[in-house]
Structure formats: C-alpha cells, structure tokens
C-alpha cells in the first residue's frame, strides 16, 4: 500500500475520541504532538495530560487500533514529556464542543467565565478536583446546577 500522507494521518487521529470526554478528539485535546514517517514506520508522539492520568494507556491503545484499522502496519508511539501539556493546546473546535457538552472550557483567569448550562456568571468553586484529573467541580448560582470545569494547566 502507498504511504498515507501525514495530513491524512492527522485527519484519522482527529476522528479518535478522548476516552473520558468522547465529544472531543485526541487532536482537539492537543496531546498528539507529532506525526511523521521514519522510513517505513509511522511515528506518533503523544504527551500525557496529567502524569497519573489512567486514560493514558487507553489512549495509546485507541490510537493504535485506529491506525491499524486504516492499514498502518509499522507504528511506533512515543511518549513526549516536554514541553508539558497545556490546556492552551485545546483546539477551538474542542473548546466549543466541551461547552456544548456541559463542561466549561479552561480560561487563563483560572476559573470558568460562564455556566455551560444557562450562561449565568454567578459561579462558585466546589472543589479543585473533579471526576477526572483534568477537571474541577463548580456550581452555578443562577440555575443552581453543578458543572465540570476543564482546569487550566
């Protein structure tokens, strides 16, 4: 088979959902740092979100399954630690999808700007940590609903 282009591989990876927040893709999440051909071997550099994130190994498995499904035979996944992952790498598409899904996207100010349910701006933090390492728990005092905030890191 002819070597698929790097652009094509990025497109395929953009169709692989994040295992914990399936409305965004691994590319949206900003953890795919590089895709390249080294001779016959396709290398994909992946950076972990949080060092202890249990989704990391699932993510690697999902990448491998997806690319093998597209006929990639020689594949090498590399862990890239540096520079460390930052929420600045979330794509605009990803940020919009997070909000639609009910998760407030990260903000440089360190807290959500509005409630993802009603758009209210009277917000309070419940806990610095949420259901996954990347989220914090907040509550909207306008609609009284709790919501997840994707922490800025």
């Amino acid at each position: 088979m002819e070597q698929p282009s790097v652009e094509q591989v990025w497109e395929w990876l953009d169709a692989v959902p994040d295992p914990e927040i399936p409305v965004i893709s691994l590319v949206d999440l900003g953890i795919i740092r590089d895709v390249a051909w080294e001779g016959e071997t396709l290398t994909v550099a992946v950076t972990p979100t949080y060092s202890g994130c249990p989704a990391t190994s699932i993510i690697n498995m999902d990448i491998e399954t997806a690319l093998r499904g597209h006929g990639i035979e020689k594949l090498e996944l590399k862990r890239q630690l540096s520079p460390p992952w930052t929420t600045d790498w979330l794509s605009d598409k990803g940020r919009a999808r997070l909000e639609e899904y009910g998760i407030a996207p990260p903000q440089p100010a360190g807290g959500p700007t509005r409630c993802p349910h009603c758009g209210g701006t009277h917000l309070e933090k419940l806990s610095q940590f949420g259901s996954t390492p990347c989220k914090a728990q907040w509550r909207c005092r306008d609609c009284l609903e709790p919501f997840d905030y994707f922490k800025c890191i």
Binding site: S51, Q128, F129, G130, P133, I153
Partner: protein
C-alpha cells in the same frame, strides 16, 4: 561530575517521596469525610503515583540493571527506600492528612521549581510536568489548612495537634548530605538546606492565616532519605502495597 550511583540515589529520593505519599493518600479512597474530598485525595494520589512512574523509570535507567519503575516500587524492601519520614507517617484524621500534604506540597513546589533548571534535561522535563500538578496540590492543601485552622474550635485544635505532631518531620527535607553536594556540583539539583528560608516564608504565611502556631523546637526526625532508619510504619505500608508482587511474583494485568 556526579556518578550514576549518586544520581540513582537522588532519583530514588524523589520517586520514593511521591510513591509513599501517593500510597498513603490513596488509603483515603472511599473513606473521606465528603465525596468532593474523596475525589480530590484520589486525584492527588494519582498525580503522585504518575510522577513516581517518571522518577523511578529514570532511576532504573540510570541504575543500568534493567529494572523498571514497577520493579523498583514493588521489589525493594524497607531499607532500600529513600523517602523522607514525613511521607510514611500514618494518615491520622483528615486534618493530619491535609497538614502532612501541605507541609510536603510546600517543599515539593519549591524543589520542583529549582529542578526546572536542572543541568540534566530528563530531570528538568519531569519537574516541568510535575510542578504544574503540584501547584494545584498546594493550592488545595493550603486552602484546607487555612479553612480548618481558622475554623471551629474543634477543627482548630485538631490542626494545631497535627502541626505539633508533624513539625518534627519537616527538618529532614532540608538535611543535606554528600549526595546532595554531588548534585549541586553537577548542577543537577539544589542544596536542600538552601530551600529552607523560602519554605519557612511560604509555610509561615499560610499557617499565620490559619491562626496556627509553629512549634518552637526545630529538632528533626531523620533517616528516611538516607535510608539509615525508617519508622516502623513503612514496613506495614509495604506489606500492603507489595503483597501481590510478593505472593505472585511477576503477575501482571
């Protein structure tokens, strides 16, 4: 130039701190006073274990005997651990756990901040990753210490008791030895003793706001980071943490 044996010891100190504290904190899973705290403690433990994997993986590489992070975590005995004693003391009540976390996080954040500039790029990379997580740990443990210290009469008393109990374990984090000297000379890591002023200022700021009093006596329990003598608590912790690998050697998921 520091030799690999000294670098190995330094990496064990970093990795064993996060491993043992991570295990201790994970003991709260399902037992915390409220759900949010349970989740927060579990996430903190997870970060620490994740950092352990990076430190011990590098330690295994430097040691050069083909050992993985798991080998180092599960197949060493008490005398080979290099964590400070603070990380192995039992959890006590929730207040003591949070005080221990705070006293450690404050040191950890300062130490990792210095390691960002390590001459060893592998160490600088791990520090860059870990320091972002530890900033959140410190924010939370600091806020909790202030909230409980400056809280009810009961919570204040318990936090003061926790501080009195744990303070003698603080000094060990700043006790330098020849391994530290070698790290300093190679530009790999700072002299722990040189972090003390910054630590005292940082910790003092939070504890003042928490209306808590730092004990006068700066006498310190030592022996963990050199491996000379651990408390009796570490052996008990290891029997739980390591039993599966010891009962079923080589077992994997």
């Amino acid at each position: 130039m520091a030799d690999n044996q000294q670098l190995f010891q330094f990496l064990l100190r970093m990795g064993d701190n996060t491993l043992i504290l991570g295990h201790r904190v994970s003991e709260w899973c399902g037992h915390s006073p409220i759900l949010e705290e349970d989740i927060a403690l579990a996430n903190t433990a997870l970060d620490l274990i994740g950092q352990t994997q990076m430190w011990l993986e590098l330690a295994g590489e430097v040691q050069g005997e083909g050992k993985s992070a798991d080998d180092l975590a599960f197949l060493r005995d008490v005398w080979d651990f290099r964590n400070v004693l603070l990380t192995e003391v039992p959890n006590g009540d929730f207040g003591r756990t949070m005080m221990r976390q705070f006293l450690f996080d404050a040191w950890h954040s300062i130490m990792l901040g210095r390691l960002l500039k390590s001459s060893d790029s592998r160490i600088a990379e791990i520090a860059a990753k870990a320091s972002k997580e530890v900033a959140y740990h410190l924010e939370r443990s600091g806020d909790t210490v202030v909230g409980l210290g400056d809280g009810t009469e009961e919570s204040h008393a318990r936090m003061q008791e926790a501080l009195d109990y744990l303070w003698p374990y603080v000094g060990e984090m700043f006790a330098s030895d020849d391994i530290d000297a070698a790290m300093v000379q190679a530009g790999i890591a700072p002299d722990p003793a040189g972090l003390r002023d910054e630590y005292d200022a940082l910790v003092g700021r939070f504890l003042t706001e928490a209306t808590l009093t730092i004990p006068d006596n700066n006498w310190a329990h030592k022996g963990g980071r050199t491996g000379a003598m651990h408390t009796e608590h570490l052996g008990h912790l290891l029997t739980q943490m390591q039993w599966l690998q010891r009962a079923y050697p080589g077992a994997s998921w």
